[in-house]
């Protein structure tokens, strides 16, 4: 993979972490760790095109964003999920309400409904000891509709092939400098690998 050489951050904006909560929006999540809320918003001009990256504080430090000249957007995107497992991954933080795993452990209370996604794994462990079962069987709200089954149509390709395809697509996207698409594919690969 080649490294773009003419990268120079043009603009950097810092939003303090105690920004009041608004409705959870996926763009507010850190593009690197996918866990922490993004607090550093970066825009670069790369070969005449605007590229946007949202980072959390820890990842921005880890990636050297504090030293703008040493920072490369493409490198950051490529390096993901391979070797660089930064410290931040260990302390989960809910992207919607900023509650951290350690606060949850201490208080036993969650910060918002999204926390149940963020801390799903640790909560699932608790549920077995806490309740009679792990599947709700009671009433549902009047307005609620069950989420449509993910892919009802033909069965998906065997996972190995699909992962292979995605990796190839990522390579192509990166070569073509389609960074938004690359980021999206990277997320999909992550999901595929963890499922």
């Amino acid at each position: 993979m080649q490294m773009p050489v003419d990268l120079k951050p043009q603009q950097m904006r810092y939003i303090p972490p105690d920004t009041p909560f608004r409705h959870p929006s996926p763009s507010m999540q850190c593009d690197v760790c996918q866990q922490n809320p993004a607090t550093v918003f970066l825009t670069q001009i790369l070969k005449g095109e605007l590229q946007k990256v949202n980072l959390c504080e820890a990842c921005s430090k880890a990636k050297g964003v504090t030293d703008p000249t040493g920072f490369a957007l493409a490198e950051m995107l490529w390096g993901l999920g391979t070797t660089d497992t930064s410290e931040v991954a260990r302390e989960r933080i809910c992207p919607a309400c900023k509650l951290s795993q350690s606060i949850f452990r201490k208080s036993g209370r969650l910060g918002c409904s999204m926390c149940y996604q963020t801390f799903r794994e640790s909560i699932n462990h608790l549920l077995k000891a806490m309740h009679k079962g792990v599947q709700h069987t009671g009433k549902t709200p009047a307005k609620w509709e069950p989420p449509a089954p993910a892919v009802a149509a033909p069965a998906p390709d065997p996972p190995v092939n699909r992962l292979h395809d995605l990796q190839l697509s990522l390579q192509l996207a990166v070569d073509g400098e389609q960074y938004e698409e690359a980021a999206r594919l990277r997320d999909e690969i992550k999901r595929e690998e963890s499922s």
């Binding site: 909560f21 309400c97 608790l126 009679k132 989420p147």
Partner: protein
């Protein structure tokens, strides 16, 4: 409805007689609900709580159950008034500790109450006389379904209603009954009952919930699990267990009356004499004597009508009720004097217990 009007009005559960009223004082159901996309009250900032309250109030106000309801923000109630609502089981101790942005809505009959921004955005409660959990749930179910057409609840297909604490996930429902079990206590069987009940996943608590003493031989029995079982199954299982406990209590009463009449005569005689003639009474002592009079009334040794009076008195001799009645702040010793005076007056007409 103003606070004083609420105070003057006798709650519906005190006027009616549900099933097994001699042993089960009340049945209560509460549902925990939260709004999608809003932080839970304990983690939200003040503005967030106000926003949720403002969003919910118009919907709650327009429910037919809450025509002429009592609606108050915790920030607008003084400590004594809040405590009165706790003593009436209309709000929780946790809510009483909260300030502005947390509100209570109570219907005039005091059979349905809603706490906004306690631990969850909504805690909806209904209370009924006797063992009547099914009906208490039916009332809330209707109201809850209606609300769910107006606001969007935080809900998950696997986890059910999403609550601030994972212990309330699923149905978000806590069903509980307040039982008066003097004979099981007197015959030293209560610990056995408690451990048996706990083994099957139910909880036993004192008069005011978690960690409180079992004053007046009153015990609250409730479900511990909220996920993995539907509302009606939870209620059916709980009612079955409670019915067994009722039988145990009835048997224990019969056995005591038959085997140990002197002991019963002594307990009743002391309770009668002290409540009618004491001038200083701590609440614990008063509670336990009132419990004996109630058992006397349930077993025909005192007039049956006494039962309802005792339910009222049990609430009225509590600290905040005494302070409201005397319209001033009282020290603990002053309350003990006032409590004794109130009991002497209320029980003035009480005939002596029939001897066994």
């Amino acid at each position: 409805m103003k606070f004083n009007a609420l105070l003057r009005r006798t709650p519906e559960w005190m006027q009616t007689s549900g099933p097994h009223r001699d042993i089960v004082i009340t049945s209560r159901i509460r549902l925990a609900r939260n709004l999608e996309g809003e932080l839970f009250p304990g983690w939200a900032k003040k503005e967030g709580r106000f926003e949720v309250l403002a969003k919910l109030l118009p919907h709650l106000n327009s429910l037919p159950e809450f025509q002429d309801a009592f609606i108050e923000d915790m920030g607008d109630l003084d400590q004594i008034k809040k405590q009165v609502l706790v003593e009436k089981h209309l709000i929780s101790r946790e809510q009483a500790a909260k300030s502005a942005g947390s509100a209570a809505i109570i219907n005039p009959e005091q059979s349905i109450s809603i706490m906004v921004n306690e631990e969850d955005h909504l805690r909806i409660q209904s209370i009924r006389s006797g063992l009547d959990l099914t009906q208490a749930f039916a009332v809330l179910d209707r109201l809850d379904t209606e609300l769910s057409t107006r606001v969007t609840y935080a809900f998950d297909a696997q986890l059910g209603f999403l609550t601030a604490c994972p212990t309330n996930l699923g149905t978000g429902m806590r069903a509980s009954a307040m039982l008066h079990l003097p004979a099981l206590v007197l015959s030293d069987s209560m610990n056995q009952v408690i451990s048996a009940v706990q083994k099957i996943g139910l909880a036993v608590r004192g008069l005011y919930g978690e960690g409180t003493e079992a004053l007046a031989n009153l015990f609250q029995i409730s479900n511990q699990h909220t996920l993995g079982e539907n509302e009606l199954d939870i209620i059916a299982r709980l009612e079955k267990v409670i019915e067994q406990i009722i039988n145990h209590e009835r048997n224990a009463r019969a056995k005591l009356l038959q085997d140990d009449p002197n002991r019963i005569n002594d307990h009743l005689g002391r309770a009668y004499a002290i409540l009618r003639h004491a001038h200083i009474l701590e609440s614990k002592e008063a509670f336990n004597h009132l419990s004996m009079l109630r058992m006397g009334s349930d077993t025909g040794l005192l007039p049956v009508e006494l039962g309802k009076l005792l339910d009222t008195v049990l609430v009225e001799i509590q600290p905040a009720h005494l302070q409201i009645a005397s319209q001033k702040k009282l020290t603990a010793p002053e309350r003990d004097v006032m409590r004794a005076q109130m009991l002497r007056e209320k029980l003035q007409q009480l005939p002596e217990p029939r001897l066994l």
